[in-house]
């Protein structure tokens, strides 16, 4: 008990010192737990149904291929619906069909697309009519109450909308409402709905009601047994959400890698900073430990003291840090949904596992760090601990050297792998760990190898620029080498990570944009804010004088041609582009090495030359699995050169479109003859379809780059978190360092240095620390970025505004100098008061 009493009193006596560890521990518990929560959310993949609630069993098409989510909606094969109805125990079945529809006012899109459904599906939520009647004819529509309100529509109003690329007019027959609040929706007759999907006769899902007395589970198994193997998904309970949100399957695919990289990275940063902060706090207590030893405390008692002191701070800190994690995780997820990274229906999960891990990492790191740091004071003969705190510290120790060499080896290996093995955007998966490895190496080996010479060079520069105070600053830094180097590390960490991550983003964007621009030959691009464009539009446009047009259909598919790809477990999908064979070479520029793009029609395909297996050439067959899981045999009609890391497969638009969810072209690419009158062209186009948007090539390229930025903000948040960490650490370590130097500072004042001279010397010291940290951080960033740039096909310095780098270093410098000067000011007293 005496030890616990001592621990409590010591923490209460020096709350400021322990406050730093408290903050750091709380922050680390919070951040690591949230990362773990994101990981778990991706794993549990919980998307409960919001609309398909009343039917206990829902059958939908299989939405993945060997674990990879299908890029397009796989609708149920016709005939399966009647097979399901025939299963004993089924009372009745209800078809569910969805299609995107954009309401138009004045020919322009009025708001984002809403969901259109077949009226039969209304009972599945249920939606109940509150006025009017159900739709009976093809022109009838029932609106949900919120939609009717916001559009100011009532019974018998006319509604203009665009669905499946065509403008339609509907008359409001009724208004319905559901008990729960859902996305805006409208309902048409079953037949009209089926037609508006572009795949008439096919349904998205079949909802099944059991006969009285039949259990849900047994009905589900009976249906599964009755259907051909792997032809459909039979869903019950919360799993029914997969029928409603087929895109949700991709959420795991996006979240898990994200958490898998940011989680460990955050943990490493957290461990490092917690260990450093607690090491500092223990340093401050060396004198007390030494005193206790002279009074006769055993090493065991002292270890227990340090343990209790640390736990007294760590456990409440971890608890405090854990409190906001659930709420923060949900906020993070909804922000991700807003940016399109995940579907809105995904539920944030954080059970005890990530919570426990986050808390454990914080507490254990703190305890181990404190015990290791106090090992010196506890074990060496007390007289060495009693001495001045300013005893010379070694630049390097054996464990540090060994660890440092290990991380260096890892960092070099990752750099080599990134540069040589990976091509294209996938290189980002090793760049994250690579950043981690370089930061660690720098932290371990940097002080001895690099910080010292860099500091001394910069110190001489400072001495030259500000002779009196600069010289003073240089001397004090040199005398306290390893301690100053320890201050440099967090600046290096923040600068290096921020610069590396930010420029990885910009480089990747630039490379992708460059590839896009390289292949875009059209000088006009037509699109529609109301959705896709009908395939026939391109043919219409081509009839105009001096104009050549091709539809552009985009999708993804699976192919096992590229070398090294395996057909088991999470195969990668490749981008598919659908173009009109006749006009393809006029609107897109691909360097064809054999065959011709003009022959893209019917069941044909053009593939990158690097993918052709030995002996495979134009005329050979190729199996392609479309995004909706249909497998077709195609004939290769051309080989072309594709940029390493940016593969694409070219298909006839008419072949690809039916295998997409929308069945429409995303854009129409137009090439005009040099002296075509663009104004009259514009007028002609507007007569063809409502709400067309025509962009020039440069506008299209600009829009493309904006679109790419959505995922960048995740990195911004990560950087913000690291910066918060680093700020706490920097502040606490600088305050601790300055506290220890109080006698020295007082002595300077007593021998006649003025307050402002001392303040200036401290500021210069801060600037030197900042400058060294920036130099080393830049080296780390280069070590990460150069291999990465090589991998994405843009070797050399990263693309992106130099303003980013300047902002990062300006902030780092400002923070460091501010913290150093402030801490000096806080401890400043008149020379006579010692």
């Amino acid at each position: 008990m005496v030890i616990l009493g001592l621990a409590v009193r010591s923490v209460r006596h020096q709350p400021a010192a322990f406050a730093a560890s408290f903050l750091t521990l709380a922050l680390s518990a919070f951040l690591v737990t949230v990362c773990g929560g994101v990981f778990e959310t991706g794993l549990t993949h919980d998307v409960p149904p919001q609309r398909l609630l009343t039917a206990p069993v829902v059958v939908t098409g299989v939405q993945d291929y060997l674990g990879t989510p299908l890029p397009e909606r796989n609708r149920l094969a016709p005939g399966l619906a009647s097979e399901i109805a025939a299963v004993p125990g089924v009372a009745r079945t209800v078809p569910d069909v969805s299609f995107p529809v954009t309401v138009l006012s004045g020919g322009q899109a009025d708001g984002p697309p809403v969901e259109g459904h077949d009226w039969s599906a209304a009972q599945l939520t249920p939606y109940r009519l509150i006025s009017g009647r159900a739709p009976t004819g093809p022109g009838d529509v029932v609106l949900d109450a919120h939609l009717a309100d916001s559009m100011h529509l009532t019974i018998n109003s006319l509604l203009q909308a665009q669905a499946h690329g065509t403008v339609i007019t509907l008359r409001v027959a009724g208004i319905a409402d559901s008990a729960t609040s859902l996305a805006p929706a409208l309902f048409v007759t079953d037949a009209r709905a089926s037609a508006l999907t572009g795949q008439p006769g096919l349904v998205d899902s079949v909802a099944v009601y059991p006969s009285p007395g039949v259990a849900t589970g047994s009905l589900a198994s009976r249906i599964t047994a009755a259907l051909p193997h792997d032809s459909a998904l039979v869903l019950t309970g919360d799993a029914r959400g997969r029928a409603e949100f087929p895109d949700a399957a991709g959420d795991s695919f996006r979240l898990i890698p994200l958490a898998a990289v940011s989680g460990p990275l955050m943990t490493v940063v957290a461990v490092f900073i917690v260990a450093s902060t607690l090491g500092l706090v223990v340093q401050l207590r060396r004198r007390q430990i030494a005193l206790l030893r002279t009074v006769g405390a055993t090493p065991r008692q002292l270890r227990r003291l340090v343990l209790r002191q640390t736990l007294l701070v760590a456990i409440p800190a971890a608890c405090l840090g854990l409190l906001p994690t659930e709420a923060a995780g949900r906020q993070l997820l909804s922000a991700m949904a807003d940016h399109g990274l995940v579907t809105g229906g995904l539920i944030y999960h954080q059970n005890f596992i990530p919570t426990l891990i986050g808390a454990a990492i914080a507490v254990f790191t703190g305890v181990i760090a404190a015990l290791v740091a106090s090992r010196g004071a506890i074990r060496v003969p007390p007289v060495e601990a009693l001495g001045s705190d300013d005893t010379p510290q070694p630049w390097m120790s054996w464990p540090r050297l060994v660890l440092g060499l290990l991380t260096l080896a890892g960092a070099i290996a990752l750099a080599v792998v990134t540069a040589l093995v990976f091509n294209g955007p996938v290189a980002a998966s090793t760049a994250g760990p690579s950043a981690m490895a370089w930061v660690l190496t720098m932290a371990l080996l940097g002080p001895a190898l690099l910080t010292r010479p860099v500091l001394s060079v910069l110190g001489r520069v400072a001495a030259a620029l500000a002779p009196r105070t600069g010289h003073l600053a240089m001397l004090t830094i040199q005398g306290r080498g390893p301690r100053t180097a320890a201050l440099v590390t967090p600046v290096m960490l923040a600068t290096g990570l921020a610069t590396a991550l930010l420029y990885m983003q910009t480089s990747q964007q630039a490379a992708t944009e460059q590839v896009y621009a390289q292949h875009l030959q059209a000088n006009l691009v037509i699109s529609s804010p109301a959705g896709g464009l009908p395939l026939g539009l391109a043919a219409q446009v081509s009839r105009l004088p001096g104009v050549v047009a091709s539809p552009l259909v985009t999708s993804n598919g699976f192919i096992n041609v590229p070398p090294g790809a395996q057909d088991d477990g999470n195969p990668d999908s490749e981008p598919l582009l659908g173009l009109d064979g006749a006009t393809a070479s006029r609107v897109a520029s691909y360097q064809v090495t054999s065959g011709s793009l003009a022959r893209l029609s019917g069941d044909t395909i053009a593939i990158p030359a690097s993918w052709a297996k030995s002996g495979q050439e134009v005329g050979d067959p190729l199996m392609l699995r479309f995004g909706d899981n249909t497998v077709t045999q195609l004939r290769i009609v051309a080989l072309f050169t594709a940029q390493r890391g940016y593969p694409v497969l070219l298909l006839p638009a008419a072949l690809l479109a039916p295998h997409t969810t929308s069945g429409l072209a995303e854009q129409v690419l137009v090439s005009t003859a040099p002296n075509t009158d663009l104004n009259s062209l514009g007028r002609n186009l507007s007569r063809m379809a409502a709400d067309l948007q025509v962009s020039s090539r440069s506008e299209t390229l600009a829009a493309f780059s904006v679109q790419d930025q959505t995922s960048a903000w995740i990195y911004y948040m990560f950087i913000a978190a690291v910066t918060a960490f680093v700020t706490v650490y920097l502040t606490s370590s600088t305050l601790a360092a300055t506290t220890r130097r109080r006698p020295q500072l007082h002595m300077l004042r007593q021998i006649g240095a003025s307050g402002s001279q001392v303040g200036l010397a401290m500021a210069i010291e801060g600037a030197l620390v900042a400058a060294t940290g920036i130099v080393l951080g830049t080296l780390v960033a280069l070590a990460v970025l150069l291999p990465f740039d090589n991998a994405i096909g843009a070797p050399g310095l990263p693309a992106g505004s130099p303003l980013i780098y300047l902002t990062v270093i300006a902030l780092a410098a400002a923070l460091t100098i501010a913290v150093t000067s402030l801490s000096a000011r806080l401890l400043r007293t008149a020379p006579s008061q010692v």
Binding site: V2, L6, R9, S10, R12, H13, Q14, R287, Q288, L291, L292, R293, T294, V295, G296, A297, T298, P299, R300, Q301, R379, P381, P382, V383, E384, L386
Partner: protein
């Protein structure tokens, strides 16, 4: 056990250093703080250890108290060989048989005076009664300050609390490292007086390092150190004799530094 002030041959030695050498520093900058010291302190005596700065007197104290391990040689306390004991045993010895008073920073700032005094006993697992602690503080005249924190006490008061703590375990030896170095003359004299009377009344031995001839004159014996070696002693020292010997040692040091290349005469 009261002993004769002069330490006659009938009294045994409570602390004995035999052939003690202490070297610091790594391969590049090794310094020899103590060079083959053989010295003993009789039970019940009050010895001052003096010497110019750099003579190794503080190191001698630390080795004698088991706070530093000699590179060569042995240190025996109460018949126990400190140099062969593991750290846990040494800790126990520090609690039960040794008291230590530093020049400053004697007390844990977060504990009250009473708690500081009771600390060695509590670390042993004993529960000292309040009366015992109060009595210890009373002996040094600070019973009314039992609840005060060190920050609220003057330098002299802190030293007195340190003495009370040093004595509470009934130690065999009290080691003091410049105990009056930070105090003014009057307070310093008070503290020395306490050290002399209380410690001797308890039957313990005092070994005190000091550079102040006035303080040294309070001792039974002054041992001089220079360059890590013993350089004579004075029994029943007077202030002038001590000061003269110190000046002599300082001059010798200066002469040795000024003419390092002079060869020894052959005779």
């Amino acid at each position: 056990m009261k002993g004769d002030a002069l330490g006659s041959s009938g009294n045994e030695d409570v602390v004995r250093l035999a052939g003690v050498t202490k070297r610091y520093g790594g391969r590049s900058a090794a310094t020899t703080a103590l060079n083959d010291i053989t010295l003993s302190f009789e039970r019940g005596s009050f010895t001052a250890v003096m010497g110019p700065s750099g003579s190794g007197k503080t190191t001698l104290l630390y080795c004698a108290a088991g706070l530093a391990r000699p590179t060569v040689g042995t240190v025996t306390l109460d018949g126990t060989d400190l140099t062969s004991r593991p750290e846990r045993a040494l800790a126990r010895i520090r609690r039960e048989r040794i008291g230590f008073v530093f020049q400053s920073f004697n007390l844990l700032p977060e504990l009250s005076a009473a708690d500081n005094v009771a600390l060695p006993l509590r670390l042993s697992g004993k529960h000292p009664r309040r009366a015992a602690v109060t009595a210890a503080l009373d002996q040094v005249g600070l019973a009314d300050k039992r609840r005060s924190r060190p920050g609220q006490l003057s330098g002299g008061q802190q030293q007195r609390v340190a003495i009370a703590r040093a004595l509470i375990g009934s130690p065999s030896v009290v080691f003091a490292d410049e105990p009056t170095g930070a105090l003014d003359l009057v307070t310093g004299a008070e503290v020395l007086g306490l050290l002399g009377s209380l410690v001797r009344a308890a039957g313990a031995t005092v070994v005190m390092v000091t550079h102040d001839p006035v303080a040294a004159s309070r001792a039974d014996r002054v041992v001089f150190l220079a360059d890590g070696r013993t350089a004579g002693e004075i029994l029943r020292p007077g202030v002038d004799a001590v000061a003269a010997r110190m000046a002599n040692l300082a001059d010798r040091g200066k002469a040795a530094a000024a003419a390092p290349a002079r060869t020894e005469p052959s005779w």
